[in-house]
Symmetry: C2
Subunit: 427 residues, 2 copies
Amino acid sequence: MNIQRLTDELSIRRQLADGTEQQLQAVKEIIQAVRTEGDAALYRFSKKWDKAELTALKVTQEEIQQAAERFDPQLLADLTEAADNIRSYHEGQQQQGYRQDRADGSYVAQRVTAIESAGLYVPGGTAAYPSSVLMNVIPAQVAGVGRIVVVSPPDSEGNLSDGVLVAAHILGIEELYKTGGAQAIAALAYGTESIQPVDKITGPGNIFVALAKREVNGDVAIDMIAGPSEIAIIADDSAYADEVAADLLSQAEHDPLASAVLLTESRELAEQVAAQVESQLKNLPREAIAAASIRDHGAIYVANNRTDLIKAANQLAPEHLEIMTEDAEAMAQEIDHAGAIFIGRYSSEPVGDYFAGTNHVLPTNSTARFSSALSVYDFVKRTSIVHYSEQAWRENQEKIARLARLEGLEAHARAVESRAWKKGSQS
Amino acid sequence: MNIQRLTDELSIRRQLADGTEQQLQAVKEIIQAVRTEGDAALYRFSKKWDKAELTALKVTQEEIQQAAERFDPQLLADLTEAADNIRSYHEGQQQQGYRQDRADGSYVAQRVTAIESAGLYVPGGTAAYPSSVLMNVIPAQVAGVGRIVVVSPPDSEGNLSDGVLVAAHILGIEELYKTGGAQAIAALAYGTESIQPVDKITGPGNIFVALAKREVNGDVAIDMIAGPSEIAIIADDSAYADEVAADLLSQAEHDPLASAVLLTESRELAEQVAAQVESQLKNLPREAIAAASIRDHGAIYVANNRTDLIKAANQLAPEHLEIMTEDAEAMAQEIDHAGAIFIGRYSSEPVGDYFAGTNHVLPTNSTARFSSALSVYDFVKRTSIVHYSEQAWRENQEKIARLARLEGLEAHARAVESRAWKKGSQS
């Protein structure tokens, strides 16, 4: 692993994959086909891409029940406990409305309500992630979303993985469909005979899914378009090199484009970690992926001082930031930009991926400067409420009319004044 | 104004203007020019589009001060009072973080911090809107954004309108630049010699501004892309037709594409309002705009019953909804989807545009189903925090490793297990 001196020129801001013109064109055609042909297009694309001859799109409660029965009971318990932790953390995000009453009888208020329906995309195939089901569905459930739909591509037998089915079982999902790719996003956005459209689509996916989400954005809401995973670790001599290396590799194994960066003042730790990464890489099942990620997007930076470390971390604004230093808790206070911060030796990043309760859908590509983890806030909307009393109107109407005329909007001024055009009143 | 019976086929969902391929190409070229040439491009485009020969981009505090001194003191007082009301309403949106401690010494937390910098676009030319300055800047200030930048195109004399300068004066804006159009958005996103880049761009603009915001989205955050303004009014026989008509026209005068819709059970009111709209239109300064809006996007629907009225309003999910009925407050409770609700006779919509305190940047095009008014929440980000104690790790590490292996992510499992690979511990 490459060791460099940290300089002011640190520039590791990453670019989000845009997709090729050809991919975008393909996605547009798929969306159009689903809008025109409905279910028929979903069956056709499933045959083409998933190699599956489906007889129905909707997963039956029986399929879900059977998966739960044959599932390892220990893993079922683990997933259930994880779901409980995630629910408990997200309950801290429940938002209340408020109302401000004024002495003149007027009030302004904000009402918070859940969106009516949400659709969650779950990748399928070799990488089936039950944890993604938990991380996307639970915030929507805590928000109070009435209708939650999960879509995921089937294997060539026409089945979803037991892990995904069991996660759906734990969460009580009633609508789960076997469809993936851009066609699944189109179905969620515009509906088909089998799938009613939803108001918001969340969840990770490949480039076709990402492009499709961008295409339908505006007609429905979408969550962020996540880029490849990232970890930055700040560590000092109190950290164990093998643990730092293991944590770097846990991100690197995700994707050849994933990024793993160590920031340290210790040249000795830097060298030990570099050696540990090389040796631990060797017997990883996903060695090729992790090795490519480390080679192309991995780096160890040795800084002159603590200030530079903090500055670099804030400049990176990484998706995940681990702090393994003697003053980890104090240092965390100085981090302005990170999707999630993991404090101390025992807070290895996978703790947050699966179990601690925080959301693992996090801003990448330095967007932690202005974006946040997926949350309950993503599944609510707020309505402003204005009530003016007769008194409030009488005392303020001239001011409002003047402000409207200042902007050249005469009809605005007259609308407010119209209440004075006649005798009589109505409360 | 066209009167129709309300049927189930009510479909008034509107399309957002996408811009032509030519406009998009022009915007891309402008953005590229600003990225390459910096300030020089801003001067050049200002000469081309604003017909202004600028000598400096930044507005001096002296210019702002002079505008405040020559401004009508009554209007200055009105704007100041409006700003106070807006600030007071938005203070209700201040978000606190939270922390959940567990008995095993671990905790999970959410920290809320302001984004570092925000840029606000204010349209210029004939339509200078000081209220837009208030509505965009105040939520950012309440959030605690450190650096707030306002950009607006100059007139051909190279000046901004006094209204905009005075709004900046009231809010204590230090960075105000004379630049508009797509080039201003590019400058905010990528920076020039004079303008440091920002993390988030908000504010309304023409099609070039909207396209530019979409182009830079991801590199920086943007607020929603707002479509033409909309009002729906639910009214019964207790409402005055002239007031209903005046309120419809106050939206119609914004834009030929603006939409004004009345929903009522009363055929009599429908006919009176239609007549009033015709007669009030005649002496409006913006008669041509309002007439086109009413003709092309205005409608009066007569419903069979109250249930259908509510259903239609929710289907529309309008930007602004006024309720002028005897049971206005109760009816408001049944509205699930609207950007803002104005309850009762004295709550004419311009009350909210200028003065009541709620934000006038609201979701259009039925996106109130899943979007909300511009708010303090748009100027903060949330960082998740995970701290696992040695005990928490010991009690949960096997579960976490099992969940990682269920997803085929061996390096994740090993990262968590690595803490057990050696003797000794560190807290």
